[in-house]
């Protein structure tokens, strides 16, 4: 295990095998401070990472380690307080709000812990909500088929189990054929069996569509299915390692 800090970490990365792959995301010394109610929270304290084309990355770390903040910044849901974020060489930090919206619309698929489905829309309509605003999307039914829920397409979120809802959320995220799929605790609210089902769908999307995938979890077991595992702690990247052998989701136990 190596403990990288700051700029040293970037230089080290240059020599890793991934340098031959195309860099999708690169963050440079990113910090983020929040005001939560009446207190300031330093969520990121200078984080530099890279994500490469088509890889499956798992971000692990305890609550409050800055995983979600980092993911939100990668997805242009949030902007860093300082530092820079590049997507395929283009700076996200210099983008205007509407450019960031455009970026999300074209390139990013999100999956959230609590699914964030629109309760008033059916599964298919939730997917359509996204396909209606982007170019060259999948058919909503095709996306639902991909997550094995075509038969549930006319059901409302309240009529589906948590796992089904999360799979709808994944279908919604990938229907636009995004460049990156960002998942924040996708199994956090699910039991083991259902969680495995959801992870299989994510793994399949990564494998079959070649979508660069970043999954946040505080469940260390899940990291076994990643190409690369980034550990976060206290707003910094604490550790990084590459799995020589990836496990399939059903092989994972927790």
């Amino acid at each position: 295990m190596r403990n990288f800090a700051g700029a040293v970490q970037l230089e080290e990365l240059e020599d890793t095998p991934e340098s031959s792959l195309r860099v999708v995301f690169e963050t440079r010394e990113v910090t983020r401070t929040y005001r939560m109610g009446e207190v300031d929270v330093l969520a990121l304290r200078g984080t530099s990472i890279r994500l490469y084309e088509g890889e499956f990355v798992v971000l692990i770390g305890p609550s409050g380690s800055g995983k979600s903040t980092l993911l939100n910044i990668l997805g242009a849901l949030d902007v860093p307080s300082s530092g820079d974020v590049l997507f395929r060489g283009q700076s996200l930090t210099s983008m205007s709000d509407s450019q960031r919206t455009r970026f999300r619309r074209e390139h990013v698929g999100f999956v959230f812990q609590f699914y964030n489905l629109i309760p008033s829309l059916t599964a298919e309509e939730n997917v359509a909500l996204v396909t209606e605003i982007c170019d060259d999307p999948m058919q909503p039914s095709e996306a639902l088929d991909l997550v094995g829920l075509k038969h549930r397409r006319h059901h409302f979120p309240s009529q589906m189990s948590g796992g089904e809802q999360q799979r709808v959320a994944i279908a919604r995220a990938i229907a636009k054929r995004p460049g990156v799929l960002l998942c924040d605790e996708p199994t956090g609210a699910l039991d083991v069996k259902t969680g495995v089902l959801v992870l299989e769908v994510i793994e399949r999307v990564n494998r079959e569509l070649g979508t660069t995938t970043a999954v946040i979890t505080h469940n260390a077991a899940i990291s076994a299915m990643a190409d690369r595992v980034l550990s976060m702690s206290d707003g910094r990247l604490a550790d990084e390692h590459r799995n020589s052998h990836k496990l399939a989701p059903h092989q994972i136990e927790w």
Partner: protein
């Protein structure tokens, strides 16, 4: 349909109760606006067309008697287009089935064809022909009141002779859209009728061959009315001119103008209250919706929905709610407009008067409603748009509570836990609490403003006819008559008391301002006609000065101590300066009073009178009327109670209807505010309330937290609302007051109590609706769901 639109419709469906409550408030505002503005447009367009098509004159004057050649001199005046001379006389009329004498105004028309000005619309029958006895046309409102048809007849005393007038047709004229006598406060369609009589018959009856006593003039386009009036007065001065005047002083035209002005006021001012409430309601409903949809908004944004799209989404929701108010509101407004128009047709007589929906003002009302709705929700929508998606992902930070004033004062132990929760909740959102209170208060105010009209009317009738004018019958004479007539009147059957007055046409002026009016000379000792000052204290007439209506003083811009000039418009037309010694309180017309000897002195007369007030023994009333009908010098008899009754009969139904509307409107506001406030409070705090239920609180205890808050808001709102209501009523009196008519600012305790009760009941009903939801609160479900 796009998925986002489905979301819109389904969200609206979930919100249907609250959305409907808001839409109902908008509907009320739109309805009142459409009703008033459309009726206004129908009325003013009908009036303008009628005036134009039937050549309603611009200027009017009456003289004692002038030879026809004088008309030529009038035609010579620059700016005069046409001149119509006439003979006009008020006579006593005997109508079958009517005990008291009535007044017929006889107006001459050419023997053949239409007059050049003030033409006649023949509703029924034919034009009268000279030489067939006394054929006449009768005015429609009088005919309708007495169910006259062509072929019927009435009797009238013409120049001392009882004659039969045969009705051959029923007619209307732009001059008498409203058939009211100058100087009277209320139209009395039962006892005052217009009759049109061929000129030769009039000339013969009144010995007016080749002469006239009334003239109407139309102006050329661009002529100066003031200049023509001045020249007319000069030309007619030698013939007993009572002063020329324009449409602004023509009674019927004046009433119509005032009505139109009042409609405009109602159409513009009242809806503002409703739209303000609607805006506030939309604000709270939408703010709440957006805060519950924080995460949905975040998701939309995460997937690339841009701010304008999110804004538009909620904007469309506002638009649909507004539309749900505007469409039925317009329909209700049109329906009410039909009703109001129908009511008007009983007062105002037009050849054709239909309600037509005024599309531009309906559109304007709709746009204003939409704008109000948008303004109300702007901040909520803006906060939805502005919400950074990453922040929206996180649940809202817990609401900030602080110790309230009672903790700071250290008296918290005086209050129960429940009371403290209520107080903290109110303190945390003081603006929202204040606005909710204001909303309920406005509903109370609408009740007060809508109901105080009958208080004002009661007071007005009581003041005018019981305190001030205490006569039973007023008799007027054709000409000033020596005061010895008082003795004659005294001897009539049933007469208990007689007080005679002298009425003198004058032009009162002060600086550049002037008014034509009948200066009243009153006897020193008065029981039947009393004057009151602004504090309703009886006021005595000065030895030599003049008392006048506060309104007249305002119009002339005089105060006590100023010296006004009275140009007499009768006899040898003297001029006299009079010092204003006091102002009196009255509610109709512009009046001025002096002691009768003052007029005698001005005119150089020996105690002349123009009429008298009588106090009558009710049992001998019929005999008195019968005698009065035959007295040649009597021009008119006004039976006070009878006129009041006729008026009240006409308006009572209308008053009741308007009151019901107002109650409905106020209830809509009160329910809208209370229901929405309660629903939102419930939604915001369902977790808290469910937690309390889990901890063992009963539904009653839990309800008391929520409903207690509402009760507190209502308790503050009602007194505040009554105060606002009094203020609005005062403003209404101020804006609706005209020279003709002033509404006294009087609100009875009953009205206050009634308003408060209705609002309390509406609040209670809305509270109970929400209480049902508290009973149904699913503890487990609420706690399981992430807020």
């Amino acid at each position: 349909m796009r998925a986002i639109h489905r979301k819109l419709l389904r969200d609206l469906w979930t919100l249907r109760g609250q959305a409907l409550a808001v839409a109902a408030v908008i509907a009320c505002g739109v309805a009142i606006s459409v009703m008033s503005l459309s009726t206004l447009k129908s009325l003013s367009e009908t009036r303008d067309a009628y005036y134009g098509r039937f050549a309603f004159a611009h200027l009017f004057s009456s003289v004692k008697r002038a030879p026809q050649q004088v008309a030529n001199a009038l035609r010579e005046i620059d700016g005069v287009a046409q001149v119509q001379t006439r003979i006009v006389r008020d006579v006593t009329m005997i109508v079958e089935g009517l005990a008291e004498p009535a007044v017929a105004r006889l107006v001459s028309i050419p023997d053949r064809g239409q007059p050049t000005l003030n033409q006649i619309y023949l509703r029924q029958g034919r034009m009268p022909e000279p030489g067939h006895g006394l054929e006449v046309l009768v005015g429609e409102s009088f005919a309708a009141e007495h169910r006259f048809r062509p072929g019927d007849s009435v009797q009238a005393i013409l120049n001392g002779r009882l004659r039969t007038l045969t009705i051959v047709g029923i007619a209307l004229s732009p001059e008498y859209v409203l058939q009211i006598r100058a100087g009277e406060m209320l139209p009395d369609t039962r006892r005052f009728g217009i009759f049109w009589v061929p000129t030769t018959a009039m000339e013969a009856a009144f010995d007016m061959q080749e002469a006239f006593n009334d003239v109407s003039v139309s102006l050329m386009y661009g002529a100066s009315e003031a200049e023509v009036l001045r020249r007319m007065d000069l030309t007619l001065a030698a013939w007993g001119n009572a002063g020329a005047y324009g449409r602004d002083e023509q009674v019927s035209a004046r009433y119509l103008d005032d009505e139109i002005k009042q409609l405009r006021g109602t159409g513009l001012i009242v809806p503002i209250v409703f739209l303000a409430v609607a805006a506030f309601l939309l604000n709270i409903v939408l703010s709440r919706l957006i805060s519950t949809q924080r995460e949905q908004i975040a998701a939309l944004k995460a997937f690339g929905y841009a701010n304008p799209e999110v804004g538009l989404h909620y904007g469309q929701m506002i638009g649909l709610i507004a539309l749900a108010g505007i469409v039925p509101g317009s329909a209700i407004g049109a329906w009410m407009g039909h009703g109001l128009t129908a009511l008007y047709t009983t007062f105002y007589r037009f050849p054709l008067f239909h309600f037509s929906m005024d599309v531009p003002s309906t559109l304007t009302a709709s746009l204003v409603s939409l704008a109000a709705a948008s303004a109300g929700s702007l901040s909520a929508v803006f906060s939805a748009v502005r919400l950074p998606p990453a922040e929206a992902m996180r649940p809202e930070p817990p609401p900030k509570y602080r110790p309230t004033i009672i903790e700071r004062l250290g008296i918290q132990s005086w209050f129960s836990q429940t009371a403290r929760m209520i107080l903290r909740q109110l303190q945390r959102r003081p603006w929202k609490a204040a606005l909710s209170s204001l909303g309920i208060g406005l509903a109370t105010a609408v009740m007060v403003v809508g109901s105080f009209g009958s208080d004002a009317l009661d007071y007005l009738i009581d003041f005018q006819f019981r305190m001030a004018q205490r006569d039973d019958v007023m008799v007027t004479f054709y000409e000033p008559t020596p005061s010895t007539v008082i003795n004659e009147l005294q001897k009539l059957p049933g007469v208990l008391q007689v007080e005679a007055f002298r009425s003198l046409p004058v032009r009162l002026s002060f600086g550049p301002r002037h008014r034509r009016l009948a200066l009243m000379g009153l006897p020193d000792h008065r029981e039947l006609f009393r004057l009151f000052d602004a504090e309703t204290r009886q006021i005595d007439l000065p030895d030599s000065g003049i008392l006048m209506s506060e309104k007249l003083a305002e119009l002339l811009d005089v105060t006590i101590g100023d010296r006004v000039t009275a140009d007499v418009l009768e006899g040898r037309r003297p001029t006299e300066d009079l010092i204003v010694t006091g102002l009196i309180r009255d509610f109709s017309g512009t009046n001025a009073y002096v002691r009768r000897p003052v007029i005698d002195a001005i005119m150089g007369e020996q105690s002349m009178v123009s009429g008298a007030w009588l106090n009558v023994d009710a049992s001998e009333q019929q005999q008195l009327y019968a005698t009065l009908k035959t007295m040649p010098r009597v021009a008119g008899v006004t039976v006070k109670m009878a006129s009041i009754q006729t008026f009240l009969d006409t308006i009572a139904e209308n008053q009741l209807r308007m009151r019901l509307f107002n109650i409905a409107f106020a209830c809509v506001i009160a329910c809208g505010v209370v229901y929405n406030t309660a629903r939102i409070a419930l939604a915001e705090r369902s977790r808290e309330l469910a937690t309390l239920r889990v901890l063992g609180f009963t539904t009653a205890e839990v309800s008391s937290i929520l409903l207690g808050e509402l009760a507190l808001l209502t308790a503050v709102a009602i007194p505040a609302g009554l105060a606002i209501g009094h203020l609005l009523a005062w403003l209404t009196c101020l804006t609706l007051q005209t020279e003709m008519y002033r509404i006294p600012f009087v609100i009875s305790p009953f009205t206050d109590g009634f308003s408060a009760t209705v609002i309390l009941l509406a609040t209670l009903a809305s509270g109970l609706l929400v209480r049902r939801r508290i009973d149904q609160l699913d503890m487990v479900e609420v706690l399981k769901n992430r807020e």
